[in-house]
């Protein structure tokens, strides 16, 4: 029982960071209907920026943390302008967006390898490694911090979407981009905001992941799992992305804990396929009938 509780807590902690990344995929999907595979690259760079602000520039942790998030926020917007806007203007089919995203992802990953090198880098110890003991369950300080920071970020996002004018504009645009444009919503601005939000959270998630594991150019592959989580929950649905992420995090840590960590990744992909077969639009996605 103790072991189960332990795994559950670890799973919640990882799942919440997945959620931070997954909302980035989902926000973009809800408006533009394509899977932004460049997001993984942005998260990876977030981890690097945090690392260099902390060790290279010697900034205090909170400053480095926010700094990394702001930098990836800017980066995400630049990617949108460079790799997607020209396609949007030409109303290209969704596959072109995906390929462009994959090109960007290849570019970012290899840019890091070419300039910084493929070596692993370890974050300095910001939080003490000694866990907090509650009864027989021990909780890592970092895991706890990951959970709290992610939860706060997600709460802020929900508030933003539900209670601000821009948030409402995002909802409207997700519902129908053409009609929204006709109603006087600046959909181009909405898209920038959506990428900025996704980028900001990507930075935060990147730093948290970098602290938890290490920083290396292929860290984006781990972030693919947050994408799976987004699909899991139903692409384009924010609650779906969060629920899918938490579920995936918990299932993964439990698989790793009880079976073998080798099967952890396999489980993620098998689960993805199974969910798609039985719920073609994910857990929270809506099913629509074709209109003739």
């Amino acid at each position: 029982m103790t072991q189960f509780l332990q795994q559950l807590i670890n799973g919640l902690s990882i799942g919440s960071v997945y959620a931070l990344m997954a909302v980035g995929y989902s926000l973009v999907y809800s408006i533009m209907n394509f899977s932004n595979f460049a997001h993984g690259g942005v998260i990876m760079l977030g981890a690097y920026f945090g690392y260099y602000y902390l060790t290279g520039a010697g900034l205090p942790f909170p400053v480095a943390f926010i700094g990394a998030a702001l930098t990836t926020c800017l980066l995400a917007v630049i990617i949108e302008r460079g790799a997607y806007k020209p396609l949007r203007e030409r109303k290209a089919p969704f596959l072109y967006f995906i390929i462009s995203a994959m090109g960007t992802s290849i570019f970012l990953e290899n840019m890091v390898i070419a300039t910084i090198g493929p070596t692993f880098r370890t974050y300095p110890e910001v939080l003490s490694r000694t866990p907090i003991q509650i009864g027989s369950v021990s909780i890592g300080r970092l895991d706890l911090a990951m959970f709290i920071i992610s939860a706060v970020c997600l709460a802020l996002l929900v508030f933003f979407i539900d209670h601000t004018k821009m948030g409402k504009a995002i909802q409207a645009t997700a519902y129908n981009i053409k009609a929204s444009a006709l109603m006087g919503i600046n959909t181009d601005l909405v898209i920038i905001i959506v990428f900025a939000l996704g980028g900001f959270f990507a930075g935060i998630a990147g730093v948290l992941f970098g602290m938890k594991y290490t920083v290396y150019p292929q860290i984006g592959i781990i972030t693919n799992k947050s994408f799976i989580a987004a699909v899991f929950g139903g692409l384009g649905s924010l609650p779906g992305a969060v629920i899918g992420s938490i579920l995936l995090g918990v299932i993964e840590t439990i698989t790793a804990g009880y079976f073998s960590s080798q099967y952890r990744d396999l489980i993620a992909f098998v689960l993805l396929v199974v969910v798609l077969i039985f719920r073609p639009r994910g857990l929270m996605g809506k099913v629509t009938e074709d209109k003739a």
Partner: protein, 300 residues
């Protein structure tokens, strides 16, 4: 640049081309996008290597069995996922591709994640070229038959296809199975060229590379796929001198191609004797009327 080097690059391009031709049928002619074709290559590669290494079968039958195995797996996958719409089908294939790779990671019979060395070196420039020519002829015959036209109709407009009596699901499945068979044969060629197999050779990056080649060459054009495979396989090899920077350039060029020339090199046109003739007459008559499009060259 010596001859060995050039024939090496051509062989690699030919292996890629085999997989690209298959994907071209699925993506270019049937309008479905797959990010799991590396998985089918893996199945074909491992199966055919098993046939030659463990059962001592000759090369060509082993290749065919590899293709068949990939095709069978694809038919199961297809039955489960072909009803999914656009993006979700794409994602499901991605999931399958990765799952196949991770399964091979754990199969110790094939050496698991460490890989499987000592596969005989059977693939060479000659058999690659001959097999590709056969593959191209089969594909060309297929796409100009009623089956091919039905696939193109599915690509253009699913609902209208059904209304004219086309079994959309069946044609998607056939297209997927043929396409997976091509990928399986390509995997077999690769196994017997590299003489080594490891699951990481068949990652998502490989699937993406194949899709990029198809789009680069132009959707719905076989000649485009050939051209695309030749250019995009040799490009990273030629750029090898730049070491780490070559993939940076590669990624960047993919984005630039997407945003500047989205219809690909051939843009749906083919190199055929009749289209060439028409093109030549167009050029001759250029002074009389300036056509902005080579409409007559379209043969699909």
């Amino acid at each position: 640049m010596d001859l060995n080097y050039i024939s090496g690059i051509l062989t690699l391009a030919g292996i890629n081309l085999m997989a690209v031709l298959g994907l071209s049928l699925l993506t270019g002619f049937t309008g479905m996008f797959s990010f799991g074709h590396a998985g089918f290559m893996a199945i074909g590669g491992y199966t055919s290597a098993m046939m030659t290494v463990k059962f001592g079968l000759p090369f060509i039958p082993a290749l065919l069995i590899g293709g068949l195995a990939a095709s069978l797996v694809s038919s199961v996958i297809g039955r489960l996922t072909l009803k999914l719409k656009g993006d979700y089908f794409c994602i499901a294939t991605l999931g399958f591709g990765e799952a196949i790779r991770l399964i091979f990671d754990n199969v110790q019979y094939f050496g698991g994640a460490r890989g499987w060395p000592g596969i005989p070196h059977y693939t060479n420039i000659f058999n690659v070229i001959i097999l590709n020519i056969i593959a191209i002829v089969i594909l060309a015959n297929l796409v100009r038959s009623k089956h091919g036209r039905n696939m193109i109709a599915v690509r253009e407009e699913e609902l209208a296809s059904q209304i004219v009596g086309i079994n959309v699901f069946k044609h998607k499945l056939i297209s997927l199975m043929i396409s997976a068979a091509y990928a399986g044969v390509a995997g077999g060629l690769m196994a017997h060229y590299m003489t080594f197999l490891a699951p990481k050779m068949f990652s998502l990056v490989k699937s993406t590379e194949l899709t990029i080649i198809v789009i680069f060459g132009g959707l719905g054009s076989i000649s485009g796929s050939v051209l695309g495979a030749l250019v995009l396989t040799s490009l990273p090899e030629i750029l090898r001198a730049f070491a780490d920077w070559r993939l940076v350039i590669y990624g960047l060029s993919v984005v630039i191609i997407m945003i500047t020339r989205p219809s690909g090199l051939m843009g749906g046109y083919e190199f055929t004797p009749s289209s060439m003739k028409k093109l030549i007459t167009r050029i001759k008559n250029r002074n009389k009327d300036l056509p902005n499009q080579m409409e007559g060259g379209k043969t699909v």
